[in-house]
Subunit: 367 residues, 2 copies
Amino acid sequence: MRYLDKQSIEHIAVGAAFLGTGGGGDPYIGKLMALSAIEKYGPVRLYSVDEIEDEDFFIPSAMMGAPSVLVEKFPKGDEFVKVFQMLAKYLGREKITGTFPMEAGGVNSMIPIVVAAQLNLPLIDCDGMGRAFPELQMVTFNLDGISAAPLAISDEKGNIGIFETIDNKWTERLARTATVEMGASALVSLYPTTGAQIKNSGVHNIVTLSEQIGEIISSNNRDAKDKLEELLNLTSGYELFQGKITDVIRETKGGFNFGEMNLEGIEGNKEEQMEVYFQNENLLAKKNGQVVAMTPDLICLVDYETLLPVTTESLKYGKRVRVIGLPAHPKWRTEKGIETVGPRYFGYDYDYAPIEELVSKAVAKHV
Amino acid sequence: MRYLDKQSIEHIAVGAAFLGTGGGGDPYIGKLMALSAIEKYGPVRLYSVDEIEDEDFFIPSAMMGAPSVLVEKFPKGDEFVKVFQMLAKYLGREKITGTFPMEAGGVNSMIPIVVAAQLNLPLIDCDGMGRAFPELQMVTFNLDGISAAPLAISDEKGNIGIFETIDNKWTERLARTATVEMGASALVSLYPTTGAQIKNSGVHNIVTLSEQIGEIISSNNRDAKDKLEELLNLTSGYELFQGKITDVIRETKGGFNFGEMNLEGIEGNKEEQMEVYFQNENLLAKKNGQVVAMTPDLICLVDYETLLPVTTESLKYGKRVRVIGLPAHPKWRTEKGIETVGPRYFGYDYDYAPIEELVSKAVAKHV
């Protein structure tokens, strides 16, 4: 167990936004919420997965919907606790051991910290994706047959819903339509989970990894190249592209941000170009027409100079970025994982190939 | 207290479909469900409102959505009980005194009979409309500030939702989007209500009135004119038109059946014509371009010969019908009532005028 202080939270927000692959919410908003919560209620205890008991019981908290909408619907802070307690009450559980994030992301890593601070509960160093994904069945717990329902959903006005469903895709469908009706973003508590389930089916150490990534990116007095090297070492990642954004097509539809961006090379590789396709999260990257990374592997955009993560809602013409690719958690690279979040699920007509292969092919071709 | 037997149910189904003003579901399907329930579980006890105690507690059951869809999604029967019990459990109430219909209609008058039979609970001789309306805040309980939520909703597949909302319009919005996602029709339990609230805010004796209407319509060895006279006497109604349907425009949108029909006079009044506009229920009737009845007053279509009610989903070109208008329950004719279900709410640019006035004006003009 260790305490998360303000410094940790600053780092986690940045690192989680990086792992959020463009989605998971704006790290600035997320950070403000979490900082204000620990200022008011004190630092939050972070437990590693080894430190919890099998029979402990946890409820995650998250935001659902189009992240771009959250920018305008800034949460008050007590909504997260309300929906968390609603689910606890519905489950007839007086005692909830703690909470944890559903996904990595600038906002979705911070909401559980807010809940943990307000309710004086521990946060567990684990999530259900090891990155961010747009739909709520896209969770490692789902791969092991754990139910997303009962799910509690709430808007900032005070409307609340609870869903019990026949499968996790129906949970996604019903929660998604409620989210859209509630104004395209909503708060959810879902995947109520035991300690044993977290041990078997969660992605471990994600909070700590986020913090380490954030620490590297935020470190002063170091140049981008040096920081990047350390970042790629830590995450087994690849720098896929350096370029500037020349075009962004974006649409908020059905509670998602859909879109595509085009990038043009800079400094010595001006002939090169890249396209990145996203649905809240970046899902597929093509370099000079060739796929170099695809979901479930991570495609992370960072500022060219500062390495600060760039979310899909902040994409702007002319912005200079680096595109970084990371291998997904091994759970996503299984047959069930690829079926759930692979390129074909999102409508891209490619067989999944790991980023390691795609990159070495691209290098070979280049030589 | 009296028992509802097969004969009563046959009559209630017909009379309630008449009061359903085109909506509330097909009386044939409704009747089959209720008959099969009392065959299996025995006759249902009907209590008048005078016979219940103030502190008794009731939960209504109903179908929500586009009635035309129900024709294809025939319910199994236990879904109604499931959603009823879900709400009872959510409310933490072990004992529910009984059930009652939300509205009059071929199906929505029958569902509470199914629930009453299966759970051996009494049915109360009351509803929340005295007719049928398309949206769930259009209930006399709502006029008195009684909450539609918590509402439980379910589909035939087994998905379930519960909503707690800030007002009854939000209950309608969230339940409607869930209904659409569930396949355009769903089952709901809502407006949990005490005996005192039923006494103050319900429309009393509606089951008995439905039965009386059904009895008149179903009686043999009498001609249409004779039966019609008795029907109009009982309901303070008017025969607005005799004609055949020349055109129907219909669309299922957002979980409703929207549409408009044109009628042409028959037998001595061939020059005359009528238009009827509907949203699940018939809402406005124009005779020769002049409004002769409008919501909340009832516009009921019946077969020209048999006087059997004609629902909006069974409208067919060439069908010969009579159009009958009835005054709405006095609760609907208040300022709040007109605001909630008057012509302007549905987008018709008319001030509400009672059918008594409109008819006497039309007669005066005719003379």
